[in-house]
Symmetry: C2
Subunit: 261 residues, 2 copies
């Protein structure tokens, strides 16, 4: 692999450039990309020029740079999440029609939950998830479901803290976390009133990978923090999660590979 002066590879620098972009930073100037990626402006400028030439980045008419359609296409058409998403989407739509608030599908990635899909309604309660956004496993209902069924090494790493707290209700100790995770495994769902925002309750259930002893994803909803609402959502989510598992099984009965990394 060709290397630049600092010993860092071109690919490592490309990742730093791409990492500068985010949901709130969809358009950046080259100087901003340099600052956010820690690269010299001249280096950032050269990399951006070549990424633009290949369509992985695109320039607008105002000196701005953003992720290109080609980058989205290369990653989406062979996405490791496409199979899961295809199976889940019709079910998510039905849940969304029934629940009428936020409905989302998340997978475990490292020590965070990565949201693959989110359906939302105008006027729905506050929600901090985004498509391709991440949340701490401890703070979010989807994260707690994934963590409850994660390998022991992931659970140990998360239990060692620190605990990202959003509100006074957020989980703040390893002991409380262990109790909650045991409850999730016993009950098959989790209800998190006010963990992330005082007005919102997260509810989530596991989506089991067919024929495997592992959880493929968490199916979650964010509903108003009103008595009775979250409990009524649990059976809807549980039935939907079983529906996704059935669709996964029938879509690819001979599959031997895990759904995500």
């Amino acid at each position: 692999m060709a290397r630049v002066a600092t010993g860092e590879s071109v690919i490592a620098r490309v990742v730093r450039v791409l990492d500068a972009f985010g949901p709130d930073e969809r358009v950046l100037r080259v100087s901003e990309i340099a600052a956010r990626s820690g690269l010299h402006v001249a280096t950032a400028s050269r990399l951006v020029a070549e990424l633009v030439a290949h369509g992985l980045l695109a320039r607008d008419d105002h000196g701005g740079v953003r992720v290109g359609l080609r980058m989205w296409e290369l990653s989406s058409r062979a996405s490791p999440t496409a199979f899961l998403r295809d199976a889940a989407m019709p079910v998510l739509e039905e849940v969304h029609a029934a629940v009428g608030q936020h409905v989302q599908l998340g997978v475990l990635d490292g020590t965070e939950v990565l949201f693959l899909e989110r359906l939302t309604a105008p006027g729905a309660v506050v929600n901090y998830t985004r498509i391709a956004g991440r949340l701490s496993l401890v703070a979010s209902s989807s994260g707690l479901v994934l963590l409850a069924h994660a390998p022991a090494r992931v659970r140990d790493a998360v239990a060692a803290g620190p605990f990202e707290r959003f509100t006074a209700a957020s989980i703040d100790s390893a002991e409380r976390l262990r109790r909650v995770l045991a409850d999730v495994r016993r009950d098959g769902h989790v209800i998190c009133p006010g963990y992330i925002h005082p007005d919102a309750t997260g509810v989530a259930v596991p989506v089991w990978d067919p024929g495997r002893q592992v959880v493929a994803a968490a199916l979650g909803a964010v509903v108003p923090n009103t008595a009775g609402v979250s409990a009524s959502v649990v059976p809807v989510l549980s039935a939907a999660a079983r529906g996704i598992t059935r669709r996964l099984a029938s879509a690819d009965p001979g599959r031997t590979r895990p759904l995500t990394d």
Copy 2:
């Protein structure tokens, strides 16, 4: 930019590696990546190893390689299409509930239509679109809508042929194409019976960019090739397209940048 022996940059080779993957080639062996990308196995192997180290590719337990979650995340969270998709998604769901077949959103990219989103129903009629898939502008209803409102240079390039034909009904001459495009501009929709498959009719309408004289996307449906069905879909799609434009306007009233490249 550091260059390898042939004079091709690392980024160019990375793009060739990523390009080897597709909807039907989600998992490839290194030897297959080398063959599909035209790289030596040793070169492909080195590039794959580094892309895996950065999470842009991932290995499974069976010697297979695929696109990594990190690649999907980097491109999705700042996707140029995210803004359009967010505005369109709730409307697409409503159309899908009403039409009950395939509903899709496509944008112009080069001389093809690139599909950003597709909702589908079990047992729906045949459909060749995929998320992040492409179709010829001439063959598909969404493509014809985008082409009708495309810059003259795109229309001229496409009219020069060749014409990709799927069935005997497909458009096969510049003269017929020009007539169809004039009809699309006059009628505000297109109906394509059997252009891609004898049993399916594509119907599509333009989604106008608010406050601009350009079409941001095509909203399309694929319905059974049965008398009356496609015509009944047109008013549903037209109302939905206006709804997407309204949502685009209210989501970002001060926007000055185009929605896609």
